[in-house]
Subunit: 357 residues, 2 copies
């Protein structure tokens, strides 16, 4: 029986909607899975939802396995035979810490696999398609790929460069003055602060300079009413300084209950090396820069920032420290895909520093 064009259009629409549903699930793993990517999957038979899942953390089952288990738990095991699985990323086909997802899909009797992004890892790319097709399984990749790619930008960046995705985050008044957290002034309102702590939740590490440690004595932890999912550790707290000796030993990051999560690098001339090590040794995929205007300038000058998150608070004035230091600044960088959102009385401007990302 030939399917009509309308049916094909309907199927394409459903495919996209369901990959996007899987992407919603993937968001639940954001910040939890490093160095793995956050991935989501859902399983349908016809119009019937059988199950869904997402990758919780490295070493645990991938999204496809989680969705299959969820279908069994929901009592839909018998329906899996002949069902379709929708995944945000091409399923893996090799043994890592867990058996390959293609194996699980084949064993479950899945008849069709629809996925978003083609795996950028050459060890996996296209192999899933071949493997699954050999088993008579229909495969369609590249569905809702743009959304899946945008979501996976940080991880894709690590695959490409071996370095974490760097998000520069700063808060300033309308005229670009930093109001330091250490002051009694808290220029950002509650909603914007919550946003920052959710950003920390999605990050693997937070980096500041020695100056920030000395001036603000920050905690650099996820707090502020943001619920930390089970198994999520506090982000690494990374200090970049000329010398360890410049840091007060009684600073909070050295003395609080998370002190084991603090790393100090006396390598102010080797940002790239620090980035590599953070990724290789600590599995950092997303690094949040929360430094002051001097160090931020250095990161921008070295072109090591991928994303920009600026909290603009509706105040004028606010001290002598600028969001970005230096008097010789030309227009150096443009923000692409800049979006703005209002949180309470504050605005958050977020965008990318490179067009192609």
């Amino acid at each position: 029986m030939k399917s009509s064009p309308e049916t094909n259009a309907d199927r394409a629409f459903l495919d996209e909607a369901r990959v996007l549903q899987a992407l919603e699930l993937a968001h639940l793993g954001l910040g939890m899975t490093s160095p793995n990517p956050p991935v989501g999957a859902v399983i349908y038979k016809g119009d019937k939802f059988l199950g869904g899942g997402y990758h919780h953390r490295a070493g645990e089952p991938h999204a496809e396995r989680m969705a299959l288990v969820n279908a069994l738990e929901r009592g839909h095991g018998a329906d899996l035979n002949g069902a379709t699985i929708y995944v945000t990323l091409e399923p893996c086909s090799s043994y890592g810490k867990t058996p390959p997802c293609t194996r699980g899909i084949i064993d479950a009797g899945i008849r069709r696999v629809v996925y978003g992004l083609v795996d950028p890892d050459e060890r996996h790319r296209g192999r899933a398609d071949a493997l699954l097709k050999t088993e008579g399984i229909e495969v369609q990749g590249g569905v809702a790929e743009k959304a899946c790619r945008a979501f996976l930008r940080p991880w894709l960046h690590t695959v490409r460069t071996g370095c974490p995705w760097v998000i520069a985050k700063m808060g300033a008044t309308l005229d670009g003055r930093i109001v330091r957290w250490g002051n009694q002034h808290r220029v950002s309102g509650r909603e914007a602060l919550e946003y920052v702590h959710r950003l920390r939740l999605q990050s693997d590490a937070i980096l500041v300079g020695g100056r920030t440690v000395r001036t603000d004595n920050p905690q650099l932890t996820i707090r502020f009413g943001v619920e930390i999912p089970e198994g999520k550790k506090q982000p690494w707290r990374v200090v970049l300084t000329q010398s360890m000796k410049n840091l007060p030993p009684d600073a909070r990051i050295f003395t609080d209950e998370h002190s084991a999560r603090t790393l100090v690098y006396e390598r102010v001339d080797d940002f790239q090396g620090v980035l590599h090590e953070l990724h290789e040794k600590y599995g950092v995929v997303t690094l949040l820069l929360e430094c002051g205007g001097h160090l931020l300038r250095e990161w921008l000058d070295r072109d090591l920032v991928q994303e920009w998150v600026q909290i603009v608070s509706p105040y004028i004035g606010g001290g002598s420290e600028l969001l970005l230091s230096g008097n010789d600044l030309k227009i150096e960088r443009q923000l692409f895909d800049a979006q703005i959102q209002k949180f309470g009385n504050d605005f958050v401007i977020r965008g990318l520093l490179n067009k192609e990302l």
Copy 2:
């Protein structure tokens, strides 16, 4: 016959909707009517729209007269008897350059008058109500008053203080650097520039410092594809400087076709005096500050700015000049009712510098 509660609610709803319709018309006069307020009016009989109008400019008929004339032009003269007029501001009751609107309303046989804002001018306030009621006309004031008041803020400010409403407008990069128009860089995109020129259209005067004249040689005219309504003059171009001798005589503002619209004040210590004169002598209701960061600071320090319009362009860096100069800035001012709009790639943040306004 007693009207049911539903009918009263319906009537209140219609009253508000029609005052808001009149307010839409009032917007057409924005920037045209100084020193008078921009006012709009519509006339209905039952559900039938008879006519609408707005005050075009000082010396010409008020909105109520324009609406009555419009009703006649539309052939609804016979319907005016027993009709209702909706106005954004309490009708005037004294002879000025034109006969009082109350007279026109009475003569036309209008049976009911609904208006927004109570006239802040003590010569008029409440007198219309009394006059109209004497003639057996039903009067209801304060309908959609909040919207009418917000729209008339600049004019209300002049009534209260004798000084123009001052809007500080500046364009800067994300980090608060001014990119001067004189440079080849135009940091704001087309849509944001159009917004600025529409803002000029709604202003009676634009003020800069001598420094801006020397550095940028600006035209300070309404251009950029913004259509200038008939009868609208280019805004006054006001320069505040230590000495006239510091200004280049061949600057555009002195040599172009609008040179008669250029005013120079050698009174850098008497901002308030300049404001008073601009209002008294030149009828300025809205003054747009387009100065650099040094002079802007002075205006803020003297608490002479009422509204803030900041164009944030999605660039990082952009020269040494700050949006707001000075190293000793504490958090001095808050922006109230801050709103943000995207124009092309730029953001416009607009708000009020005093809560009560």
